[in-house]
Chain length 198, copies 2
């Protein structure tokens, strides 16, 4: 052991964070031990408070502190347009456009039978409830372009069919500013398949 027990256990806990190896964890620990005590304690407190206050929004699965999340409880949002996402962090990509005025539905996981993730492990019961209540006019699927993302999209399409709710998916194609020359072949193929009238 290189450090005293409390420092060692701080390094160990920090190295559990994603993308943080033992060396980075040691660097973070030294920082935490060097900054003013109140700064370090504020970090600890913000972790505790986030875990105490934040719960999944019962309607959409986003982070919520009040009853519904801040998107679902905003009366100016269009409750009929619902974008389905994998995780709460995907919401910020949508919100950053500043143009999407609908609501979200966070699945929490993608269908992956090989990893033991079936429909029951996803936030689908509340999605069915939303569809059954007839409040959804269009369901936009924003699951990633992967095997799991595609399987999930297909599953939700079938789920929505009996409710007669139109389901759309995000366009696949060349990113804005992306050069054809440097694009991967699958992206070029999707852009070709999804070509639109000029």
């Amino acid at each position: 052991m290189t450090w005293s027990p409390a420092v060692e256990s701080l390094v160990r806990e920090l190295s559990r964070l994603p993308g943080v190896g033992r060396r980075s964890a040691a660097r973070l620990a030294h920082h935490i031990l060097r900054v003013p005590r109140e700064d370090a304690l504020r970090l600890a407190q913000s972790i505790q408070e986030a875990r105490q206050r934040v719960h999944p929004c019962p309607r959409c699965g986003n982070y919520a502190e009040t009853d519904l999340c801040h998107v679902c409880s905003d009366p100016r949002r269009d409750a009929g347009l619902v974008t389905v996402l994998e995780k709460p962090s995907d919401i910020s990509a949508f919100e950053s456009t500043g143009r999407f005025r609908g609501l979200y539905h966070v699945l929490g996981a993608l269908l992956s039978p090989l990893d033991g993730v079936g429909p029951d492990e996803m936030n689908l019961a509340s999605l069915e409830a939303r569809l059954a209540r007839g409040e959804v006019r269009e369901l936009v699927l924003a699951t990633p372009a992967s095997t799991e993302g595609d399987a999930t999209a297909l599953y939700i399409q079938k789920l929505a069919a009996p409710h007669g709710v139109p389901v759309t998916r995000l366009a696949r194609g060349l990113p804005v500013g992306g050069e054809l020359e440097y694009s991967d072949s699958l992206t070029v193929l999707r852009a070709f398949e999804g070509r639109t009238p000029a």
Copy 2:
């Protein structure tokens, strides 16, 4: 604001960590909100406990939880051989050799008049006390090869002179496995200046 207040404040506190931008902070926050609650709380607790239990060793300035640090309180270490370092994290580089059996002295800062760091901002009073007690046989300077590191080394050399304690510095030269072709010119120069009989 993209997130609810508790999530936002968690992201803000995490982004104060060194090398953690807003995007990485958001990723860490999502991780903290997704892992089992006890894992998140254990991280918070390890931060609090480290700040409560760890104090600078009164002898050497290393992290300590008991009276002296775990190096100073080890009776098998050679108390006459003292390596002077900038920060506690430098100790692990020395300890990882498994061959250094002396003690340390952590300065906590390097002499840098332009940044307002003078001798009083460094852990020097306890170094003088160690020298005055006659317990030091050799002082090894391991401050970095920078303007501040060199100025600090020079200052400590003068500090040690009246006590008649021999002062040495770590060798500068080519790192083990380092190729001459790819070494910077200053390293090559130092290696040439410090050449030893073959």
